[in-house]
């Protein structure tokens, strides 16, 4: 447990004055991540909302070394930086510990950047890759990505008379990353800052490639009020749409709230209730789409059961 008081003594490494939307989940995640880091960090950022809105020339919101090189190569870029660091360390030109972070949105991670990520994980660079997952290409204006939840309406998977939004379930990126047999990866949410900061610290203290997939509410794309961001991120967890878990050296483990649900200490809420609060699912709440809606609940339930199985419950 990290105390907030302790964290509040640290310097804010993401300066205000950045131009992310009011109520943006990504900036909350970045703040929490940077507060959790105990050593200096260098960051590579994939193209995306976070990159665009934090660095508009001649302004930058970053108080840490930061580089953006393209959409699909954040993992490769940070791998290059990290390699240089390993060399300097080997030669004794740098003695202090520096950690290497990459931030990518779901588009830059699940889709166009997965190859660079997969390659970096396989080569075993000592980096932490963080995906802030808001479930669509929000930067270009809410297009479907492979992280878009089933049933969500986006501009390229629009809900029409015939098609009820996106038809496929999202890619399970955390599981795909876990299949790379890296020492540590996990999934978390900014509404559980304790879980998030804890996992960041664990990841940073682990040698080798690590990965965190963090759900990031987007008022504009999810179509909810700006003040509800944190509540949305929380309910994603309580409904088991976005369970909190980690995979450490092949061992799957539920954490925090999700663990408590699995142990029966907390109530699992309905995914449908969570979806009801977001405009992107609005079209599903009609009589004719009832069975489709229920199928989503079923799939989430089944995934949850499978996850519990993997975690030994």
């Amino acid at each position: 447990m990290v105390s907030l008081k302790k964290l509040s003594e640290k310097e804010e490494l993401l300066a205000p004055g950045h131009r992310l939307c009011a109520g943006c989940g990504a900036s909350i995640i970045v703040r929490q991540v940077l507060l959790a880091a105990e050593t200096p960090v260098v960051i590579a950022n994939a193209t995306g909302c976070l990159e665009v809105a934090t660095t508009i020339y001649p302004y930058t919101a970053w108080r840490v070394p930061w580089v953006h090189s393209a959409f699909e190569n954040a993992a490769a870029t940070i791998a290059g930086v990290e390699t240089m660091y390993q060399l300097k360390k080997r030669k004794g030109e740098i003695t202090r510990d520096i950690k290497f972070l990459a931030f990518g949105g779901d588009g830059g991670t699940y889709d166009i950047g997965i190859q660079a990520l997969s390659g970096a994980l396989e080569r075993g660079h000592d980096i932490l890759y963080i995906c802030y997952n808001n479930g669509a290409y929000m930067n270009t204006g809410i297009q479907r990505s492979s992280a878009t939840p089933k049933g969500a309406s986006t501009t390229t998977s629009p809900a029409g008379r015939v098609i009820p939004g996106k038809k496929r379930f999202p890619k399970d990126l955390t599981a795909i990353v876990a299949a790379h047999n890296i020492p540590y990866c996990g999934q978390t949410s900014p509404s559980f800052y304790n879980d998030l900061t804890g996992k960041v610290q664990k990841a940073l203290s682990t040698e080798g490639p690590t990965f965190l997939n963090i759900i990031s509410p987007c008022p504009r794309g999810w179509r909810h009020e700006t003040d509800e961001s944190i509540a949305m991120a929380e309910e994603a967890v309580t409904s088991c749409f976005w369970p909190l878990y980690e995979v450490e050296n092949g061992a799957w483990r539920l954490t925090g709230y999700s663990k408590q649900i699995a142990e029966g200490k907390k109530e699992k809420t309905s995914v449908i209730d969570w979806m009801k609060k977001q405009g992107r699912f609005r079209h599903l709440f009609t009589e004719t789409r009832k069975s489709f809606l229920e199928s989503i609940q079923e799939e989430v339930d089944r995934e949850w059961e499978n996850l519990k199985k993997r975690c030994g419950y």
Binding site: R19, C21, A22, V52, A53, P219, R220, T226
Partner: protein, 192 residues
């Protein structure tokens, strides 16, 4: 040619307003052009949009620097952005008619209290209360674009209310009826 510049905030519908106005003028048999000054600013940040209307095809393709009309969707912008910039001035391709230029502001204040001076007149309309009344947008961020267009029709006389209402009917994604009502009400309420 008449040129209109819209000032608003991300989320208020300034860009849609520029399109609806163009569409309405197009229905009047005019040639039109509408475009935003596209930035990366997010919800709440100041944005600008433009409309050109002419009797012959419009070929020029750049921003509007010397507008005939300026429409300000958010009163708080007046202090932050130079909304009056170039308004009423002639340019290389257009002579300015005297006394034509006008700035229309969404505010409950009287035009003379706004404090803008130049080669233009000022008109005001309380579009926010109208939008709130018809539940357009949220209370937190009311969408005032249709209301202010109603006021624009009356204040400038450049476009008929009927055509405007038709354009609104097709141009807004939801609450067509309420938007039309808002435009009508603003048409009546504008203060010159």
């Amino acid at each position: 040619m008449i040129e209109i510049r819209f000032h608003g905030r991300g989320g208020q519908g300034a860009v849609i307003a520029s399109e609806i106005l163009a569409d309405a003028a197009f229905r009047d048999g005019k040639y039109v052009q509408a475009f935003p000054m596209f930035g990366v600013e997010r919800r709440g940040a100041p944005v600008t949009a433009f409309t050109r209307i002419d009797n012959k095809p419009i070929r020029i393709k750049f921003f509007i620097y010397n507008p005939d009309y300026v429409v300000v969707l958010d009163p708080t912008l007046v202090g932050q952005v130079d909304v009056a910039a170039g308004c009423g001035m002639s340019s290389s391709y257009k002579e300015q008619e005297e006394g034509k230029a006008m700035i229309l502001i969404n505010t409950s204040m009287d035009p003379k209290d706004v404090g803008l001076k130049g080669m233009f007149s000022v008109a005001t309309v309380d579009a926010t209360s109208i939008a709130v009344k018809y539940k357009l947008g949220s209370r937190q961020a009311p969408i005032v674009n249709t209301a202010i267009l109603g006021a624009f029709a009356k204040a400038t006389g450049e476009i008929s209310l009927d055509l405007l209402l038709k354009a609104i009917g097709e141009g807004v994604p939801a609450k067509q009826e309420e938007n039309a009502q808002a435009a009508k009400e603003a048409y009546e309420m504008v203060v010159l």
